[in-house]
């Protein structure tokens, strides 16, 4: 398309949006509501899957090695376990390191751990990350059975992350279903706006057809119109969602009581939310205009 032609289409689109200002306002509002809900869901979904993956990292199997084990044997077991496809990574934590970490965790109350260095009661351990968090339990049983002589004890995390993963998948599906329903509604409203424009311009379209304008030449202004409605409709929801999120993150950061509750940072989601929301707005807009011009261009 020539640049002149594009500007012409854009001018036409803006002109007709301005002319049908009330319908434009209604369509933009409908898109805004849809996108607001979509944006909120998006923020939830991103954070849930972020939390789930954070928890996944914590889902590891802790293998306590028996005290009699030699360094060679440890290396041996470790390399064998590393080769298992169900295992993502293996980390050796000596009993000294274990004590060190414990002290850090206990923080202020570490006094009563003093003196343990001499007679460290902790075992050497292997921290094993499973490739698939859902197979943690099976892997733990496997390990126990494979090395009965060297392993004293196998621990693995609870199914918290499982549930969270399920929840985030569920939220994702809800977003899809609910979002789709809303998108259909908004597209319908947009298609009505555009129908009005088409109605207002039917003479113009008739003449365009008579003088040999291609179907695309006729369609483009309506596509742009739909796209502009979509972009306009994204402004308010993106602003509201991002400002709101920024405030929530600020509160949680300031109040240490919630420090276990780790959210994605503002900038981790700002672009994604803006981009996806605007994109959805544009898609709804173009879809709406497609619905309304399809029938009109049949000869």
């Amino acid at each position: 398309m020539k640049i002149d032609t594009f500007f012409r289409h854009f001018r036409e689109a803006v002109k007709s949006l301005a002319r049908n200002n009330w319908m434009t306002f209604a369509a933009v509002s409908a898109v805004s509501v849809t996108l607001l809900i979509f944006g909120l869901f998006l923020v939830f979904a991103f954070n849930l899957s972020f939390m789930a993956s954070e928890l996944d990292k914590q889902v590891s199997i802790r293998v306590s090695l028996s005290p009699q084990i030699t360094a060679d044997q440890i290396d041996n077991i470790r390399s064998q376990i590393e080769q298992d496809s169900k295992v993502k990574s293996v980390e050796f934590i000596s009993k000294e390191e274990g004590l060190q970490m414990m002290k850090q965790q206990w923080g202020d109350d570490k006094e009563f751990l003093e003196g343990l260095e001499k007679d460290n009661p902790l075992p050497d351990t292997l921290q094993i990350q499973p490739s698939n968090p859902q197979e943690t339990e099976a892997l733990a049983k496997d390990l126990q059975q494979s090395y009965p002589n060297y392993i004293e004890h196998v621990d693995h995390g609870e199914g918290v992350s499982d549930r969270l993963l399920n929840l985030s998948a569920w939220v994702r599906n809800m977003v899809l279903v609910f979002g789709l329903g809303l998108a259909v509604l908004a597209a319908f409203l947009i298609s009505n706006t555009i129908k009005l424009t088409i109605f207002a311009r039917r003479r113009e379209i008739e003449i365009m057809r008579l003088v040999g304008a291609s179907n695309w030449f006729i369609r483009w202004p309506f596509f742009i119109e739909g796209g502009v409605i979509g972009v306009l409709g994204a402004i308010v929801p993106v602003t509201v969602v991002l400002l709101g999120y920024n405030a929530v993150v600020g509160i949680l950061d300031a109040d240490k009581a919630y420090s276990f509750f780790k959210l994605l940072g503002f900038w981790d989601i700002a672009f994604k939310v803006t981009g996806l929301t605007t994109l959805l707005g544009i898609l709804i807009g173009i879809w709406g205009s497609l619905i309304s011009i399809r029938r009109f261009l049949r000869t």
Partner: protein
């Protein structure tokens, strides 16, 4: 060249508008299509610019079977055909200049070319001085001249007109006819459906008379032949 072979048109409501039309119009001809009201003249015209499809038969425009042309290609077919109507079909919120330029913009002609060419055709139809007037500020004759300027601005091989003088007084009608004759003299084929006896009998051209959807007469320099 326009050829029609055994063309029938039955509208969806069952009306048989054309019942076996056979004719051939060469490049550069000037043809009047005459006949009583409801005879099928407008239908005949509409088939030529593919506003309607023939129910049966073949229409060739410069050798192209218009029935076979895909919907999306129709615009390209029409770029070679200028159409003029009784009611001018001008856009009311555009000036004379813009109405004519619109036809060139729609086929994505370059901007500089548009300016030159639009001024040229407005000059030809005698409206160079009135190019910034809106249709509502122009007389019927002037509006029809704008619509003729629009029909010819893309240099089509054919100009097709359905009662172009239908709404005009004799003086303005003659202005339009001289214009069409001028366009025709430059090699453009002109086909015009008309009820104007005086014009047909004075400016003698080929006459095709249609009655009840069939051609009943086709003569070079013929008379109008009806008492409207």
């Amino acid at each position: 060249m326009i050829e029609m072979h055994d063309v029938y048109k039955v509208y969806s409501n069952g009306v048989k508008a054309l019942n076996g039309i056979n004719t051939k119009i060469d490049q550069g001809e000037f043809v009047y299509v005459v006949g009583p009201s409801g005879a099928g003249k407008s239908t005949f015209i509409k088939l030529m610019y593919r506003e309607e499809k023939p129910t049966h038969g073949v229409i060739l425009i410069n050798g192209v079977n218009v029935k076979r042309v895909r919907d999306w290609k129709i615009p390209y077919l029409r770029r070679n055909i200028g159409v003029v109507f009784q009611d001018y079909k001008l856009l009311p919120n555009m000036t004379a200049y813009e109405n004519v330029a619109f036809a060139m913009e729609a086929v994505e002609a370059p901007k500089r070319k548009i300016r030159r060419r639009v001024q040229e055709v407005l000059e030809l139809v005698g409206l160079y001085d009135r190019m910034n007037a809106l249709p509502s500020q122009l007389s019927g004759g002037e509006q029809q001249r704008v619509s003729i300027a629009r029909a010819m601005v893309n240099n089509p091989n054919f100009v097709i007109a359905d009662e172009p003088t239908g709404n005009l007084d004799p003086e303005n009608s003659w202005d339009i006819m001289y214009l069409l004759e001028e366009i025709n003299s430059r090699g453009t084929t002109v086909v015009m459906a008309t009820h104007n006896k005086e014009i047909v009998n004075t400016m003698r051209k080929r006459v095709i008379a249609v009655e009840q959807g069939v051609i009943v007469r086709d003569e070079q320099g013929g008379e109008y032949g009806y008492e409207d």
